[in-house]
Amino acid sequence: MTTTTHTTDDSQEQMSSRIRSFLLRQEVILLIISLLAVMFLAFGSDRFLTTDNLLNQGRLLTEIGLVALSMTFIIITGGIDLSVGSILGLCAIILGVMWDPNGAFALPLEVAVVICLLVGTLAGFVNGLIIVRLGVPPLITTLATLALYRGLAEGISQARSVRGYPEEFYVLGQGEFLGVPTQLWVLLIFCILTAVILSRTIFGRAIYAIGNNELGARFSGVPVGRYKIMIYTFSGFMAAMAAWIFVSRVSTTRSDMGSGLELDAIAAVVLGGTSIFGGSGSIIGTIIGFILIQLLKNGLALSGVTTDGTIVVIGTVLILAILINNFIQRRSGNG
């Protein structure tokens, strides 16, 4: 690939070191762990490794997946967004309240969905604005808006749930397209979209630069503030997408929707090899991360492990995966 001249020795050495560094990447390690886990789980239950089951799991992981994708961007810049679960709840409530034929607005469903997405985007934008323009650390900002948005959801909904959506609304959350759950297509599209953006575009490159050295990025002409606001806004938008799909999947809106989602999403991102300090990570890793978590949940349940036992396993896997990665990175860094 490079035009500089090498002796054959050199390039061979380079090849082998390249293979080594590829094998030592967190994504690859994680993929190996995942494959081992799948094999192990497949032993536990013969119903685990079936198309039906796996597709169905896809339905369940879509919301976390969507949020984890945008969370990857945020964590790579060294930030965090704890408010996504609350934004999801707020958007779901907005969707319901706007549409509710007995309510004050009684808007057409399409309009309600658009408003829902707008509100989510706005909520993310407000996060970004506070973080970038006022300089409040992301952790505190989103801790505050975590409470604020959930409070708004509860306040606006009057704690009532909205139900009885028209049948066509459920296509997104419960229907199928070409034999695959509809929302999986959405997730797939966003996976590809975000993966391409992060790895192939100017924007993605800038995100890594910001995460590694924000000052350096600014000196290189990267509009750091604008990009950061953009990713928090995007995070809000993704939470709103997740809310839409979620409402469609469970046929109802409640103000407590999505609570705790942020921790699941962060766990998936961190498991996927994105450094919580920022600067490194990938969408592929995140995808493997949230798939692994869902497969563990599902596979363990099918093998007869109860929900609480599964939680323990996931927590352990999270710590161990980071530990192994730390260990390997340090070894290879020194060697």
Binding site: T4, Y208, N213, R218, S220
Partner: protein, 509 residues
């Protein structure tokens, strides 16, 4: 002055991955002397003082205090033996008070080993008083103090260890003139009390003002130790550089054209106060001045990093409003920042990614990065700047300082600027790379780029510039053509006239 040294270093060698930092270096410090340590950047001064202060352990060689061999495993052990160090980057806690900063880690103990705040404050006050420092409250928070005051706190901190050896690493680098004078007063006071002071500075005139003896290092090797009275600045420079400096500055003749950049009455408080400057195509303008004189601040204002508060910036005669670096770049301005570690590079990223970071648009199609174009760009940069790297895939952090600097330069050259501002382009770069960078600057000017070169190295400024502009306290105070400029004149302009007479010999770093 006692002849018996309190600290001796012999046959010190230290190797870092990829660099032999010190080879058989030696030095000795006597009580009650100011011992200047001179050398170019990369000569090994920093490594040497880090060995004295216990941060690094030498690979070979001995440290002796009062004739006894000592080994410092960490800074604390060195402190316990009376070696205190004031680093360039002050190591203070911004949220804590002056008294606490002075005594962090060794506070006076009271009941049950608790921190005795009363005694701590009293002793802090005593120390400050003993240094004739009266404008510092011991309860002030560090975060609210000026740089000069913070440094006085650092000195007080060093004294709180009852230091017998005080190492000062470029203490005047970021000080205002008044603060420099106060610092000198304090240093003299300490010398009278029998403290041995190791003083590192870029500025030869400070050495002549303050020091008793001087040790020179070059490329990690010990050169010589002399009494300051017996040596001239020319001798010192040749000891430091070790060769004639002509070939370092291959200034080529260039066609000087129309003004590309005109700055009129540019304000950005606090360090850019009504600056006027014109830069022509093909011209190299050297911007001299002490650190803290506002050179970088001015450059960053032109570059839009800290947008101007008032005043005009004209590019090719057109008035422009530059609000951020992105806009500056679009108008053909490039800025090679002063600190490549924190400003110039994303060190954890690959060479290829760094080189293309500022010009991603040129290697991409509608937002998507073209990998092949990016590789070509990286390879071209590696080739044309002779960057010593395996390939564009190499992580920049693993390159040597000079090569890292070349990457920064390559990054900005990739932007094909019409106006190139270089802030300390050769800081921390070895001599060979320095000459290459100088040649490059010359070539760029030949191609019609206007170059504004900020440098603390007077020989560089004198050797490379068509015109030299001097800044002091945020204003432009003097301008010399290449012909009329001399070290004396430039230094005189940099400093206040009153004491520039002390030594106008120029500061070769």
């Amino acid at each position: 002055m006692q002849e018996k040294p309190i600290l001796e270093l012999e046959h010190i060698s230290k190797r870092f991955p990829g660099v032999q930092a010190l080879t058989d270096a030696r030095m000795d410090v006597r009580a009650g002397e100011v011992h200047a340590l001179l050398g170019e950047n990369g000569a090994g001064k920093s490594t040497l003082i880090k060995i004295i202060s216990g941060v690094h352990k030498p690979d070979t060689g001995d440290l002796r205090m009062d004739g006894q061999r000592v080994v410092f495993n960490n800074p604390r052990e060195a402190q316990a033996k009376g070696v205190a160090t004031i680093y360039q980057e002050l190591s203070l806690y911004p949220e804590l008070t002056v008294a606490e900063n002075i005594f962090m880690g060794h506070a006076p103990r009271g009941l049950l080993g608790s921190v005795d705040w009363r005694a701590m404050r009293r002793r802090a006050e005593e120390i400050l008083l003993s240094l004739n420092i009266t404008d510092l409250g011991v309860d002030d928070k560090i975060g609210t103090l000026t740089v000069g005051k913070r440094q006085r706190v650092e000195i007080a901190k060093a004294l709180s260890f009852n230091a017998r050896i005080l190492i000062m690493d470029e203490p005047t680098a970021a000080l205002t003139e008044a603060d420099v004078q106060r610092l000198f007063g304090i240093v003299r006071l300490l010398r009278e009390r029998g403290v041995g002071i190791v003083y590192i500075s870029h500025r030869l005139e400070e050495v002549f003002t303050l020091a008793d003896r001087v040790t020179v290092l070059r490329d990690g090797h010990y050169v010589d130790t002399k009494a300051v009275r017996e040596v001239t600045s020319e001798q010192l420079i040749s000891m430091m550089v070790g060769r004639t400096i002509d070939n370092l500055f291959p200034k080529l003749p260039a066609q000087i054209g129309e003004p590309v950049l005109e700055v009129r009455n540019l304000w950005r408080k606090p360090l850019c106060k009504g600056v006027n400057l014109t830069l022509r195509a093909g011209e190299i303008v050297g911007l001299a001045g002490l650190v803290g004189s506002g050179r970088s601040e001015f450059a960053q204002t032109v570059f839009g990093f800290t947008p101007a508060q008032s005043g005009d910036i004209l590019i090719n005669g057109k008035r422009l409003d530059i609000r951020n670096p992105g806009e500056a770049m679009r108008h053909g301005i490039a800025y090679v920042p002063e600190d490549r570690g924190t400003q110039g590079l994303i060190r954890q990223m690959r060479l290829r990614e760094n080189v293309s970071l500022a010009v991603l648009r040129s290697v991409s199609h509608s937002g998507f990065i073209d990998n092949r174009a990016e590789h070509e760009l990286a390879d071209k940069s590696i080739g044309s700047l002779q960057i010593r790297a395996f390939s564009g895939e190499q992580v920049v952090n693993k390159l040597s300082g000079g090569n890292q600097q070349k990457v920064v330069v390559a990054k900005w050259l990739a932007a094909k600027p019409k106006i190139l501002i270089m802030d300390e382009p050769t800081r921390g770069v070895d001599v060979g790379a320095k000459a290459e960078i100088h040649r490059l600057i010359s070539e760029l000017a030949q191609q019609g780029i206007g170059v504004l070169m900020i440098s603390s190295e007077l020989p560089e400024v004198l050797g490379m510039s068509d015109r030299i502009v001097v800044m002091r306290e945020g204003e432009i105070v003097a301008e010399f053509s290449r012909e009329e400029a001399s070290q004396e004149k430039v230094v005189a302009a940099m400093m206040r006239d009153a004491h520039s007479a002390v030594s106008a010999q120029g500061a070769a770093t």
